[in-house]
């Protein structure tokens, strides 16, 4: 409560007492320097404290007051503490105390409220100082807020009070800073913990998923190795809703095992399904054979029947003395037989039936799903579409070894590359000698062989569509070994050289009739020419080239030599666009592999894919544009493509851009869905290296041209991209197996 301090000399104590009474009657508390003093208390500190805390100081001045040192000290202190001072002149004995009291009361009531705050401040500051300036005695919160404005004006408070407020504010800043730091730290830590927990959870989940996938894969592979039906069951047991493609691939691979289409148990009893084996359709031998012959070869087994020796035969049928190919078998063979077309050698052992390529001695297909034993014999159907096995107990099984592959021609040409022509209705395959095999893209039928380039080129290497539907561009070396670009008119059967920049010795060519440009490269630089005029539009340098493609927008896609890189150059640009490597689940798997050079490129609706050397070592890449930026990822993944081939040289995209087909050196054709690079089925029903591919106009099949001149038609299985469809097929396979008594 605010009070007055009256400074007066002792001699006027009585008058002051009366004045005090009058003031107290006006509800004004009065502090007098003797009234409050108690026995034994020191005067000065009490008076100082009283003055410091007084809302107003009244100086009861008289001659005695002025003569009193303590009174003058009190006035000094009042001024020191900036107390409002009211002076009463008491020189005259007849002082009107009523008037004085009223005067003082009026001044007291009119005093600025700030004065009380100052008094409070000074008192607290003094206490703080007397208490050792401890932090806990500093002003806080509302208290401090009251004091701060006082210190902004000079000569309002004492230095001690200023220091007190300053220290209080400093402490407040420290506390606020500490709290802010703590808050930031807590928030950051919380965010980090949350993020870390999220990342850890994600990583853990990915880890678990990977581990689960591995375990799932191992289980599936073990089951498939034991039996195709166990593999089918294992694939069916996998969670179809799981992320990723492993489940899909497992189902595909389970279905790609060749199992019997018909089976007859021992004794000739027909199976419940009625799918009996027509024994008369197959000419089984009485006993197993140790020799077989076909187109240009003659095969025999070793005395212990553990090896096969394939010798070449000439046109007259003479057999070479020494074998050109030796095959070591897993088990002694019980029977060997050549296919009716003489291009496949079938071998049966106690472990199963295998089909071999007699030219190289490689096994390209295993026929499984039926029990084999010693003494089995084989027989082909007359059309070579089916192969039957009969066991000593009379049981028999029939397989269809190549349900999806139909050989349509044997040209004897050494195919190098191919393109679609005539609006996709035809496929044109380029042979090494410059011959062009023209094939009906729907049926695979060989329509004719164009030889107008044969005398011009000694080594043809690359082919691209021409500006019109019946034209193609061919790159090769002429009779003197100089690189040459020719334009072939398939209708007119003519070929003419095409002028190229003088400093360019073309090795690779790619065109886009829609975009009207041609890209030509010598391996070190790429020149983009106008397709109609042949004028050079731009030149891309500094990027090595091992494969080239151009899309309908005019983008040039370049596969680079040596590291397997894939880049894109936008229309009008001469430098590759910036690409971001994005791997699987954020893990980059697109690092360059020494020697892994792309050999073929194809551009679909949203992705450009490459295949080439070193397939198993990041040998397939894909580029896609997402929101204006190019992302590089893996195309065909070796993990999901069951082939041992080291190289893929053929790649094509369906007319609607929805499916890629890649051809491998071991004869495998693998499909890939363009939109999301989902793996499709793989087909290996022949052993010749696939050198070129072209889709049929409706995208339901690809026409493949092989290294050995074979042309085949391979059907596209759209259902292989759908897990539900695959599961249906797996179930159907198991049901059939059970019906046949095979499971």
């Amino acid at each position: 409560m605010a009070y007055l301090f009256i400074s007066y000399p002792r001699r006027q104590a009585e008058v002051v007492t009366r004045l005090q009474a009058l003031l107290e009657a006006r509800s004004i508390e009065v502090w007098r320097d003797t009234e409050q003093l108690r026995f034994g208390t020191a005067w000065d500190s009490r008076v100082t404290a009283a003055i410091r805390g007084a809302a107003m100081v009244v100086l009861f001045q008289s001659e005695d007051w002025f003569a009193s040192g303590p009174c003058r000290s009190e006035a000094d202190q009042a001024r020191y503490y900036h107390r409002p001072i009211v002076t009463l002149s008491a020189h005259d004995e007849a002082l009107d105390l009523e008037a004085a009291a009223a005067f003082v009361a009026g001044r007291f009531a009119a005093r600025p409220p700030e004065g009380d705050v100052v008094a409070d401040l000074e008192v607290q500051a003094a206490q703080w100082a007397e208490g050792g300036r401890r932090v806990r005695d500093l002003a806080r919160r509302q208290n401090l807020r009251r004091f701060v404005p006082l210190t902004s004006r000079a000569d309002t408070v004492t230095e001690l009070a200023e220091d007190f407020v300053r220290q209080s504010r400093r402490w407040r800043r420290i506390v606020r800073l500490a709290l802010a730091t703590l808050a930031v730290g807590v928030i950051t830590s919380g965010a980090f913990v949350t993020l870390g927990a999220y990342q850890t959870a994600r990583v853990d989940e990915a880890d678990r998923a990977n581990g689960a996938l591995l375990a799932q894969r191992a289980t599936f592979e073990a089951a498939l190795a034991a039996s195709p039906y166990a593999g089918a069951e294992a694939a069916l047991a996998e969670d179809a809703s799981s992320d990723g493609y492993t489940t899909l691939v497992d189902a595909q691979q389970a279905l790609e095992r060749c199992v019997p289409v018909a089976y007859m148990a021992g004794g000739g009893a027909p199976t419940a399904s009625g799918a009996t084996v027509d024994a008369e359709a197959f000419a089984f031998p009485e006993a197993g054979r140790a020799e077989a012959s076909g187109a240009g070869w003659y095969a025999t087994s070793s005395p212990n029947r553990r090896n096969l020796y394939v010798r070449r035969t000439d046109a007259a049928g003479a057999v070479s003395a020494a074998p050109a190919v030796t095959v070591a078998l897993d088990a002694p063979c019980d029977d060997i037989v050549a296919s009716p077309d003489g291009r496949t050698l079938a071998v049966v052992t106690a472990r199963g039936v295998e089909l071999f390529d007699p030219k190289l001695g490689t096994c390209f297909t295993e026929l499984t799903g039926a029990p084999t034993s010693k003494g089995c014999v084989l027989a082909w159907s007359a059309d070579g579409e089916r192969l039957a096995m009969r066991a000593p107990d009379g049981s028999a099984a029939v397989w269809e070894p190549h349900p999806r592959t139909t050989v349509t021609a044997h040209t004897g040409l050494w195919f190098m590359d191919g393109v679609s022509a005539v609006g996709g209705a035809q496929a044109v395959f380029l042979a090494r000698d410059g011959s062009l095999a023209v094939v009906d893209a729907t049926t695979g039928e060989l329509l004719g062989t164009e030889t107008c380039l044969v005398d011009t080129l000694t080594l043809a290497t690359d082919i691209a569509p021409g500006i019109s539907a019946n034209e193609v561009y061919v790159v090769g070396a002429d009779t003197e070994g100089a690189p040459l670009l020719c334009l072939v008119d398939l209708t007119a059967h003519t070929a003419q050289p095409v002028a190229v920049p003088e400093d360019l010795a073309p090795l690779y060519v790619a065109t886009s009739p829609e975009a009207g440009i041609m890209a030509l490269s010598d391996g070190a630089q790429t020149v983009v020419l106008d397709l109609a005029s042949g004028e050079e539009e731009r030149r891309i340098e500094g990027v090595s080239v091992s494969a080239l493609a151009v899309d309908v927008e005019g983008r040039v896609f370049i596969g680079s030599l040596g590291g397997g890189g894939l880049s894109v150059v936008e229309p009008g640009s001469i430098v590759p666009a910036k690409t971001e490597a994005v791997g699987i689940d954020g893990i980059s798997s697109t690092s360059p592999t020494p020697g892994a050079s792309p050999r073929a490129l194809a551009v679909g609706a949203t992705h450009a894919v490459s295949v080439g050397d070193g397939f198993a070592e990041n040998g397939s890449l894909a580029l896609t544009n997402v929101d204006g930026s190019w992302r590089l990822t893996t195309g065909y993944l070796a993990f999901w493509t069951p082939t041992q081939a080291q190289q893929a040289r053929a790649l094509a995209v369906s007319p609607d851009g929805s499916v890629f087909a890649a051809g491998f050196s071991d004869g495998t054709v693998a499909f890939l869905r363009e939109s999301d690079l989902c793996p499709g089925s793989t087909v290996r029903e022949q052993a010749s290296e696939v050198r070129a591919l072209a889709f049929s106009p409706d995208g339901s099949a690809v026409i493949a041209a092989m290294r050995d001149g074979t042309i085949a038609r391979v059907t596209v299985d759209e259902g292989a991209f759908d897990i539900a469809t695959l599961h249906e097929r797996l179930q159907q396979r198991l049901d059939t197996a059970r019906a046949l008594g095979l499971r």
Partner: protein, 786 residues
């Protein structure tokens, strides 16, 4: 302010003349509960002027006599100076001014007047003078508190202070002058309550603050570490999962699988199977040049020297890099040419190299780098070879093969109309293999023969004579290589044939899919690289493909084989080094133990065929796994095994039926350390079982002779790491993989088989302790050229 409550003791100071008053005062003091002590303050008193610690109040009786008493005032002032509270009491007309100098305690204190106040003594002894400062402080605080709307910030913050305030309130209840008001009482109690609450909160806040800070720091550190480690681990795991380089890099795959097994705490059945898959595949000795490739360098073709201990390879910048193949360390880099395009060969001892480039033909001292020009005119070289000592050099140009002897051009062989298929050093000297038209070769006797095709000739460059030749049918693909013994292999349209001294081409029984990128042979095997099928190792005796190696490289186009069966496969960027020991057969065998019997007895056990389908092991006690201990976690049986409980503690029957029709067992052998047994069959199959301490056997290797020859003898090398298999008179040495069913055995096995140097990118994916445990060494880049 801190007012210490003292024991209620009063010190009465009076002179002798005021004894009566003092007695009255003493009575009043005792009545008030004080303990009274009297102080005479006589000048003759020898009492020391100490402050009795039990005295709270000092009452000094002052009178004219006291003031006049000598020494009384001095002593009284001294006492007043040191007492907690002193009350001067006037007994007569004595005034304060006469009781001391200005500022002295007695003078400056407010006196009590006992002259006309009968109750003065009661007032005096109910004055808690020592508490008045505290009381005033409390009163001021209370006033402030009430003025400011009883804001909590004006309450006492300290619990102790609040307690003292409450005690003060109690003490002052009967004070003569100042009695606590209700507001003060409320303030004291409110302060106590508030302070306690604040203390609790403060303590809580402090704890929370400390804990939060510590937690924040620790969390940041730990989470960062954990997440980083976890992410790194998951990346590695996912890399290994998705890469799953079982086929292309089985060593890396196996090591990653081992890490996973180690983290899981031991061997799991699925993991054993998975690890076995990696162990069954061939592993490279290592890859040279990975770190240089990462820095933009490359490696081309190379040659072995010093019986395979050295490997010299052409590298970027016109340099030759020397590598120590035994330690897989780069030794030196020597600049030998002014351009990258040069051909070279190295003497057998690796001391010198012959180099042909655009500057001519020169001899380079590989120790000093000194270059000696031999023929500066020969600037269009495409191949070069030198004799073992370098005295003879053959250089192939576009038109001829020039032969230099002792630095001088000795002879020249015209190459018009011919294609040189190979130029190399054989045991008998320098040889060249060329294909020439029959007419040019002088072998055509008829027009048909003239038109038939080419003739392949093997030329002794020392003598300048054709030592063997044979007609070749027309072929689109033609290449060849010369064997160390002096014969040659020709690949014509893929068919590989041997050109023997009998001047006949005999197919070896192997055909390539397409034109080989490179060929190399040591006479025992042919190593052929094609784009389509990679690098295949072919047994020349049977034509059987023994293995496909270097699957981790693409585009291999350089091959070189040393005398010791080491193969270098280069693709123009890096070079992969492989040992043929576990792949190819030899007519000789390594030291070890073998048995041709169906019963084998060793110190540790006896193995025999109980019947056609059961292998029986009998031993006093079961041997431990390879370098394992009995405390190993018992490994689970590998899939396909049926763990057999021993019918007797020392006998174990291993059924063979689960492994299919393997034929008839021909031999059995127990490993030297006793922990494994191998069984060979007439079908060429070999099974190796680990004998674990739990009395069970686990399949650790199922191998088959690649040529399908029957096993005549089977055994182990002296350290048990390799199998020794005799089939068709030749010896095979595949890895036995014994010990892989225990963690300790795995460690030994992995240490023995691992690549001598790992590429840095792979090496970094393994934890440090794994690297140390397995002795994994990181590849280094070749030194800078000198």
């Amino acid at each position: 302010m801190d007012a210490r409550l003292r024991e209620h003791g009063v010190l009465l100071c009076a002179c002798d003349a005021d004894e009566e008053a003092a007695a009255t005062a003493a009575v009043a003091a005792r009545r008030a509960g004080y303990e009274v002590r009297r102080e005479n303050l006589a000048p003759t008193s020898n009492q020391p002027c100490d402050t009795p610690c039990d005295i709270t109040l000092c009452v000094v009786l002052l009178s004219e006599e006291a003031a006049a008493a000598p020494g009384f005032l001095e002593r009284a002032n001294a006492l007043a100076e040191h007492m907690p509270a002193t009350i001067p009491v006037r007994l007569d007309g004595i005034t304060p001014e006469r009781c001391g100098a200005p500022g002295s305690p007695i003078r400056e204190r407010h006196w009590a007047d006992a002259r006309n106040h009968p109750s003065i003594w009661q007032e005096i002894f109910h004055s808690h003078v020592w508490l008045y400062p505290a009381y005033d402080d409390l009163a001021a605080r209370t006033a402030r508190w009430e003025t400011c709307g009883r804001d909590d910030s004006f309450l006492m913050q300290s619990v102790n202070q609040a307690k003292q305030a409450c005690a003060l309130i109690d003490e002052m209840r009967d004070d003569s002058f100042q009695r606590p008001s209700d507001a003060m009482v409320r303030y004291a109690h409110a302060s106590h309550t508030f302070a306690r609450r604040q203390r609790k909160r403060t303590r809580r806040h402090s704890l929370v603050l400390v804990a939060a800070i510590a937690a924040a720091v620790a969390t940041v550190v730990i989470v960062r570490g954990v997440v980083a480690a976890h992410v790194e681990h998951a990346v590695q795991s996912a890399q290994s999962a998705y890469s799953m380089r079982l086929e292309t890099d089985p060593a890396f795959f196996s090591f990653q699988t081992y890490c996973a097994m180690r983290d899981a705490g031991g061997v799991e059945p699925e993991q054993v199977h998975a690890l076995t898959a990696g162990l069954e595949r061939p592993w490279a000795m290592g890859i040279l040049g990975t770190e240089d490739f990462n820095a933009g360098g490359w490696q081309g073709e190379g040659v072995f020297a010093q019986t395979g201990a050295q490997y010299w390879v052409r590298a970027d910048g016109g340099t030759l890099q020397q590598w120590n193949i035994l330690a897989f360390e780069p030794v030196s880099t020597i600049r030998v040419s002014s351009s990258d395009a040069f051909v070279f060969d190295v003497t057998a001892d690796g001391a010198a190299a012959v180099v042909a480039d655009a500057d001519g033909v020169a001899m380079i001292d590989l120790k000093t780098g000194e270059r000696t020009a031999l023929d500066t005119a020969c600037t269009d070289s495409v191949a070069i070879a030198c004799s073992e000592d370098g005295s003879q050099i053959a250089v192939q140009t576009a038109s001829a093969i020039a032969v230099y002897e002792n630095g001088a051009r000795a002879r020249e062989i015209d190459l018009a109309g011919t294609d040189v298929l190979a130029l190399t050093r054989a045991a008998a000297g320098l040889r060249a293999l060329r294909a020439t038209s029959a007419e040019a070769a002088g072998t055509a006797t008829t027009a048909e023969e003239t038109a038939a095709g080419e003739t392949v000739q093997l030329i002794d460059l020392t003598m300048g004579e054709v030592v063997a030749q044979a007609p070749l049918p027309a072929a689109e693909i033609l290449t060849g290589t010369i064997l160390p013994a002096g014969e040659a292999l020709v690949c014509s349209n893929g068919t590989v044939s041997r050109l023997s001294a009998a001047s006949a081409l005999e197919p070896v029984g192997f055909t390539t899919r397409d034109a080989p990128s490179a060929l190399a042979s040591d006479g025992n095997v042919l190593v052929v690289a094609t784009e389509q099928d990679g690098v295949q190792v072919v047994d020349l005796a049977t034509g059987t493909v023994l293995e496909t190696i270097a699957r981790d490289l693409a585009g291999v186009c350089y091959l070189s084989i040393s005398d010791t069966g080491v193969v270098a496969c280069g693709n123009g960027f890096v070079t992969s080094i492989w040992s043929l020991l576990p792949i190819a057969p030899d007519i000789a065998t390594v030291s070890g133990v073998t048995s041709a019997k169906t019963t084998y007895a060793a110190e540790s056990a006896t193995a025999e065929l109980a019947d056609a389908e059961t292998l029986r092991i009998a031993q006093p006690e079961f041997a431990l796994g390879a370098s394992g201990s009995a405390s190993d976690a018992a490994p689970e049986a590998v899939e396909g095994d049926s763990p057999v409980s021993a019918t007797q503690p020392t006998t174990l029957d291993i059924p063979l039926a689960p492994y299919g029709d393997l034929g008839t067992a021909t031999s059995v052998c127990i490993a030297p350390y006793g922990g494994a047994v191998a069984l060979g069959f007439d079908t060429g199959h070999v099974l190796v079982f680990d004998l674990a301490s739990n009395g069970q056997a686990y399949l650790c290797r199922a191998w088959q002779v690649p040529t399908a020859d029957g096993v005549e003898q089977v055994g182990f090398s002296s350290d048990g790491a390799r199998l020794i298999v005799e089939a068709a008179g030749r010896w095979w040495h595949p890895w036995s993989n014994s010990g892989c069913t225990s963690m300790e055995g795995l460690v030994s096995l992995l240490r023995a088989r691992q690549p001598k140097r790992w590429p840095l990118a792979q090496w970094q994916t393994f934890p440090k302790d794994v690297r140390q445990q397995l002795g994994m060494m990181c590849a280094t880049a070749a030194p800078a050229e000198r």
